[in-house]
């Protein structure tokens, strides 16, 4: 509304007579400057975070270069640091979690957006929101005492006897490992997929559905062949968002993945993830290179989630034409 300069002669006399001094007396300029400082500090903090990660990993970056990402050895005693087992573990658990969470989450979102009456949909969404608020350490707690024994006693032996010929399901059923971490992660990211996908599906214009139904399609055909493709990009956004969460998740994964740097192809074997290795070894890291290698892992994690979140936002904006509903609040 009011511009900060008064050099332009204004048509309305009242606007012109409010000089800089008078606005200063009213506190407007002071308020503008002070609130600006607060807003600017957000930008500064974010910049500082990026610079700090970059700077604090310089030793490791120079020493290992690109080899850091393709080396399998993680040996603090020999100061040899390769991130491959951790990157592998992070990716595998994230992929497993999405394989479970996407169909389940999308299905639930379709039910909430297309089928359930408004009241029921809102009530269920309320529970989903509460589910999203459950802290990750609680998921870890349940993972350790419920999912892990369940995997060890029932699910993993069953998988082995059914699909044991595949390299994916070999080795002893420890209970902990990639598969368990992936399942716990799936439970954690489902609420995000549901919330965002539901919102996107609800924003699909009503006439799309009616047109499909009028052409004689069944309810499911109109949903699956018209509404879901219409909302495709937004749903992809929700998946990227979930992927970013899954990759960066620390506590629940640390508690059930086994914390052993392996490159085993088997989903049943214990593994390690980027976030988990930082959580476990950061306070014990002796020597600059060791600590900086861990910071570099943090930088990698930051960059991956940064890119994924950016993509998710872009896709969301494309579909709903506004950036809300992206999970703040």
């Amino acid at each position: 509304m009011a511009a900060s300069t008064t050099t332009v002669p204004s048509a309305s006399p009242s606007a012109g007579s409010r000089s800089f001094i008078s606005r200063l007396r009213d506190g407007d300029e002071i308020a503008r400057v002070i609130t600006f400082l607060f807003a600017a500090s957000v930008v500064l903090i974010t910049l500082l975070l990026v610079l700090q990660l970059w700077h604090d990993s310089s030793l490791a970056r120079h020493k290992f270069g690109f080899q850091f990402f393709v080396t399998r050895v993680w040996d603090p005693n020999a100061e040899q640091f390769g991130a491959l087992p951790f990157i592998y573990g992070t990716l595998v658990t994230a992929v497993v979690s999405l394989l479970i969470a996407v169909p389940l989450g999308l299905g639930a979102a379709i039910f909430l957006a297309e089928l359930a009456p408004q009241k029921i949909s809102d009530t269920l969404q309320f529970f989903i929101d509460l589910l999203a608020a459950v802290p990750s350490v609680i998921y870890g707690l349940l993972g350790v005492f419920i999912v892990v024994p369940l995997m060890r006693e029932i699910i993993q032996p069953a998988l082995k006897s059914l699909l044991g010929f595949l390299p994916l399901f070999q080795g002893p059923p420890y209970g902990i490992g990639f598969l368990t971490a992936g399942i716990v992660l799936a439970i954690m990211v489902i609420p995000y997929i549901i919330s965002v996908s539901r919102e996107v599906l609800l924003s699909v214009p009503r006439d799309q559905r009616e047109a499909a139904l009028a052409l004689g399609s069944t309810r499911w055909e109109s949903t699956w062949k018209v509404v879901v493709p219409f909302a495709r990009t937004g749903i992809m956004g929700s998946i990227f968002l979930a992927l970013a969460r899954a990759l960066g998740e620390t506590m629940a994964v640390t508690m059930v993945i086994g914390n052993t740097p392996t490159n085993s192809a088997s989903l049943l074997s214990p593994g390690y993830s980027i976030a988990a290795v930082i959580a476990n070894e950061f306070t014990e890291a002796t020597g600059d290179v060791y600590l900086q290698a861990l910071v570099e892992l943090g930088l990698v994690l930051f960059l991956i989630t940064f890119i994924l979140n950016g993509l998710a936002r872009l896709l969301m904006v494309v579909t709903t034409q506004k950036g809300s509903g992206m999970g703040h609040v």
């Binding site: 957000v42 930008v43 990660l53 299905g107 459950v134 870890g140 960066g248 989630t305």
Partner: protein, 283 residues
């Protein structure tokens, strides 16, 4: 009705039922979690849990009084740091800023919001722990406060945008300055929404563990002042859950129940406030 149509109707009914099953499964997870925590935690909670320090390793009993106080201190300090930055930053975005600055600030806030919590921990370690040479309540609160900033900022902005323009114009027409209008008219009109957002932000960081591991660290005793390592409920749950002692497992369940109950109560309460006062529509 030919068989083709019957098949299509069957598929439709089947798939739609399946989506209902998906929704039921997703929601039932919440009740499953609650049920298990009440079942395991409820039997482990006693008065000692809230009043006693952790027992020495190997001894049965003790409580988490220091962790409860530690968490409260961390959250209070985190809000003192994060809420003002988010709140006034949000006012700037909604009321003063031009679009290009607003874009940069929003972008930075969204970026900060997406940073994995463990990376926030690394940042707080470098910025607060290293200069002071030891783990502290201050460092933990800084990490948690950082995570509160983007949520508070974006919600403040959103709710201020939701305040009708006419309210602003009425106030300015009466001769109030811009700032007076904001503080006396606009912010009170959006007060409910902003409070809700701050409560939700608080509930979210209350359960954060990863950023505390190498900032607040942990402590089996009281942590005086702000410069000492401190225990916190989430970090205690983590270390007790992965410990080999049965009695610690029991206490981890109890702590989990207390933490989850607090977080869910705040969430329900905040959403109830928001639902009741629909004076300000969400933009």
């Amino acid at each position: 009705m030919n068989s083709r149509l019957r098949w299509r109707k069957f598929v439709s009914g089947f798939m739609l039922t399946l989506t209902g099953v998906c929704a039921a499964v997703a929601v039932s997870v919440l009740f499953f979690i609650l049920g298990y925590l009440v079942y395991h935690g409820g039997t482990s909670i006693n008065w000692n849990f809230f009043t006693k320090l952790p027992a020495p390793v190997g001894e049965i009993g003790g409580g988490m009084a220091n962790a409860i106080v530690g968490s409260a201190k961390l959250l209070l300090l985190a809000s003192l740091f994060g809420v003002p930055i988010g709140f006034f930053g949000g006012i700037y975005l909604a009321e003063f800023s031009n679009s290009s600055i607003a874009f940069v600030v929003r972008y930075a806030a969204d970026l900060l919001n997406g940073v994995p919590s463990i990376v926030i921990g690394i940042f707080a370690y470098a910025l607060v722990v290293l200069p002071f040479k030891h783990f502290s309540t201050l460092a933990g609160a800084f990490a948690l406060g950082l995570m509160m900033i983007p949520i508070t900022l974006r919600s403040t902005e959103e709710f201020l945008h939701g305040v009708p323009r006419a309210l602003r114009e009425a106030s300015m027409a009466l001769g109030a300055s811009r700032w007076k209008t904001i503080m006396a008219v606009v912010v009170p009109a959006a007060y409910r929404g902003i409070m809700t957002a701050i409560l939700l932000a608080l509930a979210r960081v209350a359960g954060e563990t990863a950023p505390l591991l190498f900032t607040a660290f942990g402590n089996r005793y009281w942590s005086p002042g702000l410069g000492q390592p401190t225990a916190s409920l989430p970090a205690m749950i983590y270390s007790y859950a992965i410990s080999p002692y049965d009695d610690w497992h029991r206490q981890a369940w109890a702590a989990g129940l207390v933490l989850l109950a607090l977080i869910l109560i705040v969430n329900i309460f905040a959403r109830a406030i928001l639902a009741r006062g629909s004076a300000i529509p969400r933009s």
